[in-house]
Subunit: 268 residues, 2 copies
Amino acid sequence: MLRGRKSLNIVEYRTKNGPFKTLESVVNVPLLKHKSAVVVFNAILNPVKKKKVKIQLAKFIRPEVDRSWLDDANTIVSLVCGTNKVAWAHVDRGMAVLDWQQHDCPNFLKGTYMASAYLNDVSAVVSLLPSADFYIIEKPSISVQNTALFPIMAHMRTVEAMLFALLEPRNIPVETNIPPRVLNMMRTAVGRHFGLMVGESRTSGAQTVRQLMTESVTQKFPRINFPPDLLMKYRNSFQMGSSRRGGEQLCDALLQAVAFYELLSESS
Amino acid sequence: MLRGRKSLNIVEYRTKNGPFKTLESVVNVPLLKHKSAVVVFNAILNPVKKKKVKIQLAKFIRPEVDRSWLDDANTIVSLVCGTNKVAWAHVDRGMAVLDWQQHDCPNFLKGTYMASAYLNDVSAVVSLLPSADFYIIEKPSISVQNTALFPIMAHMRTVEAMLFALLEPRNIPVETNIPPRVLNMMRTAVGRHFGLMVGESRTSGAQTVRQLMTESVTQKFPRINFPPDLLMKYRNSFQMGSSRRGGEQLCDALLQAVAFYELLSESS
């Protein structure tokens, strides 16, 4: 509201004269005329709701696409890859979970890296995926600079590259205005949406997923609806503590799908 | 030829009696009867050509495939990717170069890594590739352990992964006994074949390629045949020294194709 010389003058005035005793005394501050004072008082007495910062699609979806394309999507498949599996959630725009599972990839990070072995695993996953308008692939936040995580990062890049190549329809003329079917979604954007960020890294989404599952049976308008068989299947998974069942990718795939629709409606 | 006690006895005999003075004196060595002596003399007088060590396909081609599949190949496309381009050579089993070129990939290693941007570049290359029985992709020898080269290595892996995914036919039932169409060939195996290795790394193949081009017009049975238009196009490229024209990938793609057929016939 007040910057530069005006705010400095206030500080100097209070240092010399002590706290303001009346509202009117504010106008004694050099430069701070009646008009400025009214603006400031008004802002304090009638705080306007902070204008929601318009979330830019580009902040969480890459490549940048026409927003109408995303609005038209009836279903998406959200994909998250781990070090030995790929998990996915198939969710429609009515926030119903249609499919939710993970598939083991025995060739990941095993022995000498072979592109052909990776392709076997990734193709097997792709053959199982439901058809959808968009395939949203988690873009992890591992940087090339982080040397300790090189092997993991090289692995992630390989799987991601194959998923992009296998899921995008082939032989589309470059000129046609057809949206890409495969998109990246920032892992950190999903983390922030659910309040899972601790500094730059993301904590487990298991607790959040358990809460979403509970709400889907206890609330009239839950954020997301699970069919009974999936609730049964996973109701005892994702427990904190003792037995880590390796459901992190499953959780992340689901949260990414929820965040996709919610961030999309927030940004409209 | 002689092992164990027999050869030890020879050494002991010569230590005691000095060098053999006549061929016959050899039979004085304990255990070394006439029969052994004849075998050894024969081997010295009529040396058999050293049996060529059978080069194992798995040493240069991955994944391991049925060798008959490779023998049946009429043409291959040999691919080598660089940091801003992909080069390829299309060569038939009669050692004629059918196509030889490279294509720029403006999104490689530019800005923040985006799988979708890479896919654009790699798809553009794939759409230009001639159809062939096999696509042979150079497997570089950069290790995950070499942290200094990590960005390059992550880049190479991404391009390689996309090439594998885009070139392999989709929707093939797993049970059918159909060979893979995309294979890796070890960069070091090609380097060794042409004597280009200096320690663990490979020197430029430009000189070798220039020589192959010269031989194709000066020799009756050259190792490889270039059509006149390709000879014209590249005759002044690949010069050593002053102007590096960035033809390394072009050279490497050609050498890989030649090495593929030559190593295949050597290993038969």
